[in-house]
């Protein structure tokens, strides 16, 4: 009996000792993000902060498909495991209305971040509701959809000649969606195991929807009126019907088995010699100019999402802002970190490491624009981006869009008009349910 008591006391003592040691070492911050290259670059960046300030910062990651679920599970449980999160742009409504994010409006105004950061990043990553002047995060990783293509296929004299004979104009980087379609059709040769184009089709989160957005926005369409929640006549407009048809047509020029593809598959389309052109986020382009990960690195080129039939040119926004979590016990320390993060030198270093800074000054600098073959296209794109709904019920809207659009694109079900009319009805019902519209 005595032996048991002694070991129990020893155990309690050990627990206390561990407890105090955690308290003594409170200068530690954890940032939560998805598992991808930019998170590794961020870890390198924050190591510099540790060297300067002595505060250890860890970037914790989880695979993309789980990112939203894991983050919100932690928020909903009011857990303090993470001090900051580099959260997706469409979370901002849900996270700010539920009180998961700390209000950063004062911090934003004090440092005049509205001017320091590129306007689109402020609008979509930081402000909610739109035009309210309330800010919830600091734009951290700017991102948008761009395209990569096989320069060697495009510049092959035989191909150029055949293309000109067939379509009546020179083969080159597509100047609009019509040319994009033509080039995809031209290079689509299943017999040679060569295909026209790689696009996003995965319907498990937002991949397919973002792919379709590229067409919708460039065809001059919108998803709805984000301030009045009106969708009828907007999501099912004539431009959107044409845009959806165009996206479906591109699907017919994709490699076999292309019904669940996202960034990994789209980069593989270039590295494995599958497709002539491939849609992807700029964040995934560093892997394409690296010869270790892309044997075709030398012959891979890049272009911005082309304009639609009326000359409108937009791209789907990706990217994230960094927010402080309300349940963190190190909020003060986190704010100090953010002060360091927004400094010009830090943002410059961030861009050098491979992060896509949102700092307007760095973006505009010739050093940044000439650093890689795609930085210029990135800079241009970041000024013409649009995003999905950021309302708290965005996840329902997203799933409804997937449910309607996916069977049409990959399974030939219904017509574009029927699909978008049904989607308008779904969205209307959802907004009614949450009392956004009467």
């Amino acid at each position: 009996m005595r032996k048991t008591m002694t070991s129990m006391l020893a155990g309690i003592g050990l627990l206390l000792a561990c407890g105090t040691s955690v308290y003594a070492q409170d200068k530690e911050l954890t940032i939560f993000w998805a598992e991808w290259d930019p998170a590794n670059y961020l870890q390198e960046l924050v190591n510099l902060y540790e060297a300067e300030s002595g505060v250890k910062v860890t970037v914790e990651t989880t695979p993309w498909p789980d990112f939203q679920t894991k983050a919100f599970t932690e928020f909903n449980a009011k857990g303090s495991a993470y001090d900051m999160v580099v959260g997706d742009s469409q979370w901002i409504g849900a996270a700010s209305e539920a009180g998961h994010y700390v209000d950063l409006t004062d911090f934003f105004n004090k440092h005049n971040l509205k001017e320091v950061m590129a306007p689109a990043t402020v609008k979509y990553y930081a402000e909610y509701p739109s035009n309210s002047g309330k800010y919830w995060s600091i734009p951290a990783e700017g991102d948008a959809v761009g395209w990569s293509y096989r320069k060697d296929w495009f510049e092959d004299p035989k191909e150029m000649e055949a293309f000109k004979a067939k379509y009546g104009y020179d083969l080159g980087v597509p100047k609009d969606w019509k040319q994009l379609r033509d080039i995809a059709e031209f290079f689509h040769r299943p017999d040679e195991k060569r295909y026209g184009v790689a696009i996003y089709t995965d319907n498990s989160y937002d991949a397919l929807v973002m792919g379709v957005e590229n067409a919708i926005f460039s065809f001059g369409g919108e998803l709805g009126d984000y301030s009045t929640y009106k969708v009828d006549g907007i999501i099912n407009s004539e431009q959107n019907v044409k845009a959806l048809e165009a996206y479906k047509e591109l699907y017919s020029f994709t490699p076999p088995g292309w019904a669940k593809s996202f960034f990994i598959e789209d980069n593989q389309a270039i590295t494995e010699n599958l497709a002539a052109m491939s849609m992807n986020y700029f964040a995934f382009f560093p892997a394409l100019i690296n010869e270790a990960s892309n044997p075709n690195a030398k012959v891979t080129g890049f272009f911005a999402n082309p304009p639609g039939p009326n000359g409108d040119q937009f791209a789907a926004l990706g990217g994230q802002g960094i927010s402080v979590i309300s349940y963190s016990q190190n909020q003060e320390e986190a704010m100090k970190f953010l002060e360091w993060f927004i400094k010009d030198e830090t943002q410059k270093k961030w861009a050098e490491l491979g992060g896509y800074t949102a700092s307007a000054k760095v973006l505009e600098s010739p050093e940044f624009q000439n650093a890689t073959p795609y930085n210029k296209a990135f800079y241009e794109t970041m000024f013409k981006v649009k995003d999905f709904w950021a309302t708290p019920e965005y996840a329902e809207l997203l799933i409804q869009m997937n449910q309607r659009v996916y069977p049409y694109i990959t399974g030939n079900q219904g017509t574009a008009k029927e699909v978008l009319d049904a989607l308008a009805a779904d969205w209307n019902a959802t907004f009614k349910k949450y009392n956004r519209v009467k």
């Binding site: 939203q68 679920t69 919100f72 599970t73 928020f75 909903n76 849900a94 209305e97 539920a98 009180g99 299943p190 195991k193 995965d202 319907n203 498990s204 989160y205 490699p255 076999p256 088995g257 292309w258 019904a259 669940k260 708290p392 019920e393 996840a395 329902e396 799933i399 449910q403 996916y406 069977p407 990959t410 399974g411």
Partner: protein, 301 residues
């Protein structure tokens, strides 16, 4: 004899020497289990029943309001939910029937004196010892239209198993059949080896054909244990999640548990997803009940 062991303590045992009564010992073993069940099963079950009548969302700070049967009404009127149920039913039928045919067939083949029988049986059991997620991941590679070994061996060119909306559900069911037929096989083997040999000898003397012997002797005697295998597999197939989730994201493979997961943890419609979980629970209970009734009937025979 068995009850005697359970109720009286051996007076020479250490427990008895410590002065513990058999009642104490019984409680010591049973109470932790009961507490565990109540805390982790019964309590959440009742709590979620309460939530299913509210519009509660775990992601929002807004308090839950009572909405009565609205969640149930809307779910049962949602054509997407019904299509999820139809997909689940199709999947359960294809996969369980497949498992019974393959599993029982292999058991019949193994139920004789063949060399290395033990080793063969063990090897055949391997698939069901693997993790569902791992099986899903490597079957995804096997099914790949560009480099998958299935198309290569069968000479199917670039046949799209998982991207073809009509084929995807069957592809998932084939994987499930591969993984779980051994389970049916194992139970069937136990049943088959329990069939008295003299019945076959009697049938042989009466010159009964092999067809007749199978349907009049083998099947009726193995039926009860086969039924148990079918009940287990039906329940499991009904709540399939991992395989279908990993292999493909076709709407034609969105079984009810995937829809439930999306509703609960992507859309955070906590109240409504509780209601859906209850609908699924009631359905599984109903189906199992039918089976159990049938099982009792089979046993009586």
């Amino acid at each position: 004899m068995a009850t005697a062991v359970m109720t009286t303590l051996d007076p020479k045992s250490r427990s008895a020497a410590r002065g513990m009564s058999d009642l104490t010992i019984r409680n010591l073993f049973i109470i932790p289990t009961i507490v565990f069940l109540i805390v982790f099963n019964i309590f959440p079950l009742l709590y979620s029943l309460g939530y299913s009548f509210t519009d509660f969302r775990a992601s929002s700070a807004a308090p839950a309001t009572f909405v009565g049967l609205q969640n149930y009404r809307e779910l049962l009127n949602d054509p997407f939910i019904w299509s999820n149920f139809a997909i689940t039913a199709k999947y359960v039928i294809v996969s369980v029937v497949g498992q019974v045919i393959v599993g029982f067939g292999v058991a019949l083949l193994l139920n004789r004196d063949i060399p290395l029988k033990g080793l063969l049986t063990t090897l055949l059991l391997l698939p069901m010892m693997l993790s569902m997620a791992v099986v899903g991941l490597f079957w995804k590679l096997l099914y790949d239209p560009s480099f998958g070994i299935i198309n290569y061996t069968l000479g199917l060119g670039s046949f799209e198993w998982l991207s073809n909306p009509d084929m995807a559900l069957y592809a998932v069911a084939i994987t499930d059949i591969w993984m779980w037929s051994p389970f049916v096989m194992l139970l069937s083997l136990a049943g088959l080896s329990a069939v008295p040999k003299h019945l076959y000898e009697a049938a042989a003397i009466d010159r009964a054909g092999s067809f007749y012997t199978f349907f009049r002797i083998t099947l009726p005697l193995v039926a009860p244990i086969l039924m148990i295998a079918i009940i287990f597999r039906t329940m499991e197939a009904f709540k399939t999640f991992d395989l279908a989730y990993i292999l493909t994201s076709q709407p034609t493979t969105e079984v009810i548990s995937i829809r439930l997961y999306k509703m609960a943890f992507q859309e955070w419609q906590t109240g409504r997803s509780c209601a859906l979980a209850y609908i699924v629970l009631i359905m599984i209970l109903a189906i199992t009940n039918i089976y159990v009734k049938y099982l009792n009937k089979v046993k009586e025979r």
